[in-house]
């Protein structure tokens, strides 16, 4: 933490030790830079991104917190890094998919549940809720437990969903074999698995 402070100065907003875990809060503009340094600096080597998640507090004035849980496998230590996202500005931070490939789905989940956008994410779509889900981001505090629509409207929308639309070609493992498959199969794959 001292190294972090001396290197990034004012960008490190708060540091605490909570139940033996180091918690560092950094400014959102420099978060990507700090995370890149934590991954690459020879005395840090946080090579494993355990989780990306977010917390919204009941107090509406308090900013949303984006939480990165890091682990250094060679050093055997954990670090929790938080980024405060004030609600009066668009909820947007730089994606860390370029640092840890595993951040892809984690960031998609945070987008889906909290509506935080990740700049530079290769494929920022919903991951848990379905594509045409229109009720918002369910884990936000202003989201009603039973959703925004009436039950009949929810059922209508659910039944109207295109079953094939949940799966894009990129998600299917056959996409990797694209060049190897015959031309007619390739054509069908491009068109999606539509009923004829």
């Amino acid at each position: 933490m001292a190294a972090l402070r001396s290197r990034f100065g004012a960008a490190v907003e708060r540091t605490t030790v909570l139940l033996g875990a180091s918690v560092v809060s950094v400014a959102r503009e420099r978060a990507h830079e700090v995370l890149a340094w934590l991954r690459d600096a020879p005395d840090q080597r946080y090579d494993y991104l355990v989780d990306v998640t977010a917390v919204e507090y009941r107090d509406r004035e308090r900013p949303l917190e984006l939480v990165y849980q890091l682990r250094s496998l060679p050093r055997g230590v954990m670090l929790r890094l938080k980024v405060d996202l004030a609600k009066d500005r668009p909820l947007e931070v730089d994606s860390v998919v370029d640092l840890w490939r595993g951040a892809d789905w984690l960031e998609r989940e945070v987008w889906d549940m909290f509506g935080i956008r990740f700049r530079g994410h290769p494929d920022l779509r919903r991951i848990l809720m379905w594509e045409n889900y229109a009720e918002g981001h369910p884990l936000r505090k202003d989201f009603p437990l039973r959703g925004r629509f009436s039950r009949s409207e929810q059922v209508r929308r659910a039944l109207g969903a295109d079953l094939q639309a949940h799966y894009s070609m990129e998600e299917l493992s056959i996409a990797e074999a694209y060049d190897a498959v015959p031309a007619d199969v390739r054509e069908r794959l491009l068109g999606g698995e539509q009923e004829r």
Partner: protein
């Protein structure tokens, strides 16, 4: 041929009897009884297992409780070869079009068992993601209560379904009619869906904004 049984003491009366039409190899029955008897005792379940109820379903199908005793030897994981849809577990809205597609693919005659509290009512999941009872999506014949129901409970539900099937008649024109989606894409009136989805029990104390 030679007649056996009580008839053997009686001389054949006419040509038909002489030809053997009164032999005990012939049985007369009501068509309904015969059809329903065969339907009820050869149900092939299509298991739609989404949660812990599916574990109890597996236990029901395995040797200790043995579904095969009731003519359900083959669990058809193919809707086109199935008679009973057993929805074992909670159904999120994301799976609603899937179970509807499965139901639409099943040929008539078909029945549906809703297994467990969540499939029947949404159970404890009175939230944004969960269908509040699969009867808003597909017609249900038997509801099995429990969280999850024990295998005995599911067997009781299956026996109730068999009893129900034995009371049906093949001459009822409305019984096996496919209910198709209306223009809105719903299978029930919107008001009926809302009413079926109403919270009850402890959850009535919650408001929609809770």
């Amino acid at each position: 041929m030679e007649l056996t049984g009580p008839e053997q003491h009686r001389a054949p009366q006419d040509e038909a009897e002489r030809a053997g039409f009164l032999s005990p190899n012939w049985v007369t029955a009501r068509l309904d009884d015969l059809v329903n008897w065969s339907r009820a005792n050869s149900l092939w379940p299509m298991a739609f297992g989404t949660a812990c109820c599916a574990i109890e379903f597996m236990a029901t199908a395995a040797s200790r409780f043995d579904l095969a005793r009731f003519g359900m030897e083959r669990v058809a994981y193919s809707p086109r070869q199935a008679d009973v849809l057993i929805c074992a577990g909670r159904l999120p809205f994301k799976l609603a079009p899937v179970i509807r597609r499965v139901w639409d693919q099943m040929p008539q005659p078909k029945w549906c068992i809703s297994m467990g509290a969540c499939a029947s009512t949404g159970g404890i999941f009175d939230n944004y993601a969960m269908v509040q009872g699969i009867d808003t999506i597909v017609p249900v014949d038997v509801y099995v209560p429990g969280c999850p129901p024990r295998p005995e409970g599911l067997l009781y539900g299956i026996l109730m379904l068999q009893k129900k099937i034995k009371g049906e008649t093949v001459f009822d024109p409305d019984l096996r009619v496919e209910r198709l989606a209306d223009q809105q894409g719903l299978f029930l009136e919107p008001a009926a869906v809302d009413e079926l989805s109403e919270p009850f029990g402890n959850s009535i104390h919650q408001t929609r904004s809770a």
